[in-house]
Amino acid sequence: MSYSTFEIWAIILLIGIGTLALRFSFLGLIGSRALPDWVLRHLRYTPVAVIPGLMAPLVFFPPVTGGETDPGRLAVAAVTLLAGVLTRSPLWAIAAGGAMLTGLALTGVLVVPG
């Protein structure tokens, strides 16, 4: 890394300001005005449209294995998802996924960063 202190802080501040602007955008500008039905119909799917895509590369091509698909990590993801769908509770999903992860790590099945 060969940035000056000024450049590093400029990067941090610009990302910070830009991110805050994105977060405030609609909440700040639209306020309490009612949105049309068709817009609401799309917004309803925001979390399921964004987060699975954000996670997919990490699950299918984990950076720690150099991008090679790891069956252990796929299993952990599948167990988490299944527990969450069945119990409808994020807490149980985390517990199930965490237990699977710990189990596979302890038995040495999981590829871990050296």
């Binding site: 990302i15 909440l27 639209i30 309803r44």
Partner: protein, 271 residues
């Protein structure tokens, strides 16, 4: 910063609502309880960022600056990764912001629920908009019994309370402990576990499942698009598919109802 933040949250905990203090407080507690499991993950994620940023060559103030001023883990990691490659300043900034474009979507979807709050509250909500607090709150607003505005704000603030301070502290811990942490721990999976746990309970209709599938396939197929814009495109596509499937299912249900009604020799649909 942290002290200021804590006093703000303290003020919030006391309740923004004259209307019904007890109900607001209850909503805050419910939110905090719902957010608690995600603290388990904000911890490891923050540590990972602290370690990686320090190893990349950022000093303590810069590392903490990221976690306090940006407060969005995925984009922080991406920025540091690009900085290790000595990418041009604007490329680093734009790539990080592209990852955070999803926040604008979150902001839009929260507007119907929180848009009527005073502007300072909306500002605070915006600053604290983390995936976990957002998802937990949105799930509650959509599915739970109706809440008043001050209850909704209190629930959100409750959800963020166990997560956000831990994010700062975990970053600090990671930055200080740095390479002293034992290797060989698969903490990289803590992040996907948390995010999948958030999403799974939302997969309750065909439209939600379809949107999630399109999101995954789209993000993988569009991974070649530079600066993480592929994710944004995939998300837009998934929103459209979700809305389309919802309309399609509703139309089919109406058609089935009509057939049933026609079968019992009733008058046709008034429309």
């Amino acid at each position: 910063m942290t002290k200021q933040d804590r006093s703000r949250q303290g003020a919030k905990a006391a309740g923004p609502g004259r209307p019904d203090r007890a109900a607001t407080l209850r909503a805050f507690r419910q939110g905090a309880l719902a957010g608690l499991p995600f603290a388990l993950v904000a911890g490891p994620f923050g540590v990972v960022f602290g370690v990686i940023a320090t190893e990349a060559g950022l000093n303590l103030a810069e590392t903490m600056g990221f976690s306090i001023l940006v407060i969005a883990g995925a984009s922080q990691l991406a920025a540091v990764q690009l900085m290790v490659d000595n990418a041009p300043t604007m490329v680093v900034v734009l790539a990080a912001l592209a990852i955070n474009l999803r926040m604008a979507m979150y902001s839009a979807s929260l507007a119907p629920y929180l848009g009527a709050a005073p502007v300072w509250q909306r500002g605070l909500i915006a600053y604290l908009m983390l995936d976990q607090a957002y998802s937990v709150s949105y799930l509650r607003y959509e599915e739970g019994p109706p809440m008043t505005l001050s209850e909704r704000v209190a629930y959100y603030m409750g959800a963020i309370t166990p997560i956000c301070p831990l994010w700062y502290l975990a970053t600090l811990f990671g930055a200080l402990a740095g390479t002293a942490l034992p290797v060989g721990l698969p903490i990289d999976m803590a992040v996907p576990i948390a995010f999948l746990a958030m999403i799974a309970p939302m997969l309750r209709t065909l439209a939600h499942v379809a949107a999630a599938l399109v999101s995954v396939l789209g993000a993988l197929a569009l991974a070649f698009v530079p600066h993480n814009l592929g994710l944004f495109l995939a998300a837009l596509l998934a929103l459209i598919v979700g809305a389309r499937v919802e309309l399609w299912v509703a139309a089919r249900r109406r058609a089935a109802d009509q057939t049933a009604r026609a079968g019992t020799d009733k008058e046709g649909d008034a429309r």
